[in-house]
Point group: C4
């Protein structure tokens, strides 16, 4: 009897399989609560009345209770998730998994002020990480996994590009500082302002709060801005070749045309089984 | 006799086949009227004289009459478009098709004020959707269809990217709000301003109306701006691989080199028959 | 004797073949003059002394004489360029070719004021087109031709994208006008300002001279800005697949690995012979 | 004995092979010093106290001593790096190699003021080139080499694109000058301002310090901004096809799947042996 309840609870809190209506309702309810919770953080930054604040705080408390219950239920049923492990080890493994840590981090800020004098508003931002759970959605996991695979395959090239960009940023920030400091001491008081300018220019954002006015500064700006194009071109090309590689592998493998024999992914971490 | 007139009308209002001069003239006339109608909406936003306004209103009325007549003729000849259906069903099918809905939406705003007290100027914007009809142009339909195919094939990956971007936007907007609210309460009064800043930064538009000034805000801005590069790189790579996939399929299929055996597309919805 | 001089002149004014020193010197001289001429147009926009202006005008006159002589010599030797045509037809063909028209347009503005009261400064800008001649440079012609081939192959898809973008711009400009006109009548006085904003946003330039301030305008701005990413992604993907197609064709053709059997290009138009 | 010390020193200052702890420590120490040295240049641009300046100057002197010692040791052991050459030639070859020149340039600015009256602050910027040494990092060299290979293979196409962009910039700058000079003589005093605007627009940075206000200037701006999209698309496509070419070559070569048979690279220049 106890085992049967546990198994039912487990099948409900897991991402819904086809036909399991209760699990589907649970999933939608939790996701809805996540959206409501984030919307509430958003609304609280507006100049709202006392009543609205009170209502949102109540909502907050209610959702925390639900999330806490969900977290505890997941720990309780963890041994069904990893049947090959002993109950204690299964729970330990679950608690230390990425998704469980996110769940804990999302509810902890509420309980901490009971023990510690912590600013609630600031910590509430941490609840945003809960949004990551939305990726557990079954529907698009295949697409996500293929994007993730490309990133994993090309992370070295991407890392090298990012590293190169950082070096370029530091060099550009110091050069622009030396070029513009005398002409605009208020805009370029130190190299940090130069770094901010370099980021805005190299990414082609160009806010326009700081920009060079001397001839040499503008020449430097032109070079950095044109290099910014390369900064888009290189990672795009790397990812492009990654997607093509994936595509060729798929078409090369016989009887695996992406729709029929789809691999199963772990409902908890999204990794291939 | 009645049927012959109907058939002639039908062949004229359909996109012109090679050699059908009357149909070609009709197509050009309707397209010209669409452009004139849009230009008139454009010109009306300027500070123009009473005479010009009167002239444009007259033009507007005339074009509405033409568009209404066209719409009715299309309904009348709908049974020739779907000869396999009964006349009533053919018309119902046509009326509910995308293009017919656009046609109706484009003329409705003119008739509504006769019955309802609606602001004409605001609704006139809806007439813009008529522009979509330009895509019925036969000439480039093949190119459009191949772009459309790529989007259709990759919509899952694109949806996932868009979803990821939305989450990133919400997180960034809340973080920047917490970072900058105290330093610039007038620029970042609430998280909505943060969202606006996040959109402008992540898309690398960078208007410069709102930007971080604190060290932590600028660091966050730098991270978001650099992520913005990834935001361009990922969909570009996805579409790239989609175009390559299409290309390989085309070259793989024998005797189908894109020019000789071109497939027929529905003249109404642009879909492959 | 006359023919020999003509042949020598012809070989000199043609792009230098390997070993022809006189022709090489002529090429470098003409190219140098083009750069000097453009630099002079550039410098003349600065606040310069009377002497400098006089010197630049003299330089201008001298270069015009050289360019005129070059143009006449090219017409004179045109029958050697098209030996299969009659002398008159050869010259007519040359005079109407793209490069010859550019040459004429580049020297005409100088002679026009002799007969017509035309503003010299304004027309001098036309001389800029002479810069296009630099593309006749032999060295990189192969790379240019391959880029050109991709554009030629994909011009339909590119045209469709550009057309789609124009429609998007017009729709966006009208929508933003209706959304922002009442809030900022000075920034959005008419739909043309909306169009300017739409261009700056969709291309992610974002000058920051005009931007939405209302909630609905910002929402519209966010959608347009995110669409701007697609605007980069689509043509990039199209060109990417074009380059890949070219690459596959090259590697598929046996014994044609790009370096050994390079095709000959016409020295005048750069087209494949 | 002397030879053994030399050999030990050599193995330590070379990039660490697996298992050589002393060499690993040396590498980390030198890299740490490079980062500290750059951070110090960065910090010195801030408004800091006399004590901090003194401390940073001391740190600077210490790091210069270490870098000098490293440089001399590298010259001393150069004959072990090129065992096939005579000791003198080996040292000459090393001293003229790219990495050694960077090393020398990085320490020279400190010694020059002893002999010449040079501004120390300005020259310190040269020390930034030391950052390039970071690329000697063994770990990611493979990824870097593959990116470098693509650039090397496609440099002609890239050069042509850059050249085309420069011509476009010059033409755009003169056109915008003629279009906007009369309306905004303070913003567009000469063609150089036009060039600055053209760079900011074509790269889609768009600071917003200079922008067209006349109808013709805005039309020109729109055309340039839309061309800016092509400016991203063309190099991205070129690099994409380059990465794909590399990929196909790799997969075509049997038994060379990138991980097992990795080629050895020179630890000094990063080139393939």
């Amino acid at each position: 009897m106890y085992l049967r309840i546990k198994q039912t609870v487990f099948s409900v809190i897991q991402p819904a399989e086809k036909g399991n209506v209760a699990s589907k309702i649970f999933d939608v309810f939790i996701m809805g609560l996540i959206f409501v919770s984030i919307a509430s953080v958003f609304i609280m930054t507006f100049d709202i009345s006392r009543e609205t604040t009170g209502f949102l705080n109540g909502l907050e408390r209610a959702s925390i209770i639900v999330f806490t219950a969900e977290y505890l239920l997941r720990i309780w049923t963890a041994n069904l998730l990893y049947p090959e492990l002993s109950p204690v080890r299964a729970r330990l493994k679950y608690v230390t998994s990425g998704m469980a840590v996110i769940d804990l981090v999302a509810i902890l800020p509420f309980y901490l002020p009971m023990f510690l004098p912590i600013d609630l508003v600031g910590l509430r931002a941490i609840r945003l990480v809960r949004l990551l759970r939305v990726f557990k959605l079954n529907r698009y996991s295949e697409a996500l996994v293929s994007i993730g695979e490309v990133f994993k395959k090309k992370y070295r090239e991407i890392l090298v590009s990012v590293f190169f960009v950082l070096i370029l940023l530091v060099i550009a920030s110091l050069l622009i500082y030396y070029a513009e400091h005398d002409a605009q001491p208020d805009k370029f008081p130190n190299a940090f302002s130069g770094l901010w300018w370099a980021v805005a220019t190299l990414t082609t954002v160009g806010y326009g709060d700081i920009y060079p006015i001397t001839a040499i500064g503008r020449l430097l700006g032109a070079v950095i801005a044109i290099m910014g194009i390369g900064m888009v071109a290189v990672p795009t090309s790397i990812l492009s070749s990654g997607f093509m590689e994936l595509l060729e592998k798929k078409t090369a493998a016989p009887g695996n045309d992406g729709d029929k024999e789809k691999p199963t992914y772990c409902p908890h971490c999204g990794k291939k089984l």
